[in-house]
């Protein structure tokens, strides 16, 4: 299961739109994506979704996920880390009205070298050639390539690669 979360403070429609577009290519695997959308104006068409989760529910959801995709908020980062879950971060931008300042960009810059944390600097999604089965969740590793974009499951996936990654992402 992939858990998408925008955190507890502000909406983040850019993230939800990107993940909804990505989930559209999953076919019958759509139920494997759950999005917590906050007060966002975009209600997903291709993902299960809720607006908010209480802290205990949030923790249980992270614990049950194979991958977390989140804004670059410390609540999401710390909770994913406490449960050993890999996390993809899309930082909020103040210029887009997504936060009051750009500290999430700074946060992502600090975190991008940490094991199990992957920073998406943009939300472009490449369309899948065909849907694939879900990859196994990776084990945390001390080092590994840092993906810059989230690709679809149509890209090659190698759970046993060194280091194992849930998704191979475009290098560009």
């Amino acid at each position: 299961m992939i858990f998408v979360t925008v955190g507890s403070m502000f909406p983040f429609d850019r993230l939800i739109a990107a993940m909804d577009q990505w989930a559209a290519g999953l076919g019958q695997s759509r139920g494997e994506v759950l999005a917590q959308i906050g007060a966002g104006s975009l209600e997903p068409c291709h993902m299960r979704w809720v607006r908010r989760l209480e802290r205990a529910e949030f923790a249980r959801t992270v614990a049950g996920a194979d991958l977390v995709v989140a804004h670059a908020g410390m609540g999401s980062v710390i909770t994913a880390g406490e449960y050993g879950k890999p996390i993809v971060l899309l930082p909020r931008r103040a210029a887009a009205g997504e936060h009051t300042n750009d500290h999430q960009i700074d946060t992502a810059g600090w975190l991008r070298r940490r094991p199990g944390i992957y920073v998406a600097d943009a939300e472009q999604i490449s369309a899948p050639a065909s849907p694939r089965p879900w990859p196994a969740a990776p084990r945390a590793r001390a080092s590994g390539p840092r993906p810059r974009r989230i690709s679809s499951p149509g890209c090659a996936v190698s759970p046993s690669a060194d280091p194992p990654l849930a998704y191979r992402c475009d290098p560009g």
């Binding site: 955190g7 507890s8 403070m9 209480e54 802290r55 205990a56 670059a72 908020g73 410390m74 609540g75 999401s76 980062v77 710390i78 909770t79 880390g81 009051t100 300042n101 500290h103 999430q104 700074d106 946060t107 810059g109 600090w110």
Partner: protein, 148 residues
């Protein structure tokens, strides 16, 4: 000693949870913006206040009024916050109304500079802290460690 823990939700609260063991053996009361406190903290007193950010500054007077009521009732010896604005307001009320000792802990998410609330917390903080050593200064803010 009675310690009031006051902070926003999300990352501010998650960081505060990691700091709570520092207050073992003390009486804790909580102030937050969520409808209820985490269930695993047991039967402790929790007060919900409204949330305030730069996006809704007109909420400040109402939240200040609520905090005055809460702190007048509890009279904590110490008020501790990891931010953001609701925590700053709790420090203000604690310092002015109760002469509480006050602790500001800037979020670890602020890696390059203090948050706005953090800068504003200086005159009302007995301990004015950051979680990045490169942000600390001899005159404050000080670095006493980090949650990660």
């Amino acid at each position: 000693m009675k310690v009031m823990v006051a902070c926003s939700a999300g990352g501010h609260w998650v960081q505060m949870r990691r700091i709570l063991p520092a207050f073992d053996g003390m009486e804790l009361v909580f102030v937050g913006v969520e409808p209820k406190l985490d269930g695993d903290l047991g039967a402790v007193r929790y007060y919900q206040v409204g949330n305030v950010t730069r996006k809704n500054p007109l909420a400040v007077p109402g939240i200040l009024g609520r905090l005055v009521t809460v702190l007048w009732s509890e009279r904590p010896d110490m008020v501790v916050t990891t931010g953001a604005a609701p925590g700053l307001l709790a420090l203000v009320v604690g310092k002015v109304l109760c002469r509480s000792r006050t602790v500001w802990i800037n979020s670890i998410a602020n890696t390059e500079k203090l948050s706005l609330s953090g800068r504003m917390a200086r005159p009302v903080s007995d301990a004015w802290l950051v979680q990045w050593e490169h942000l600390s200064r001899p005159e404050g803010p000080h670095f006493w460690g980090a949650v990660l």
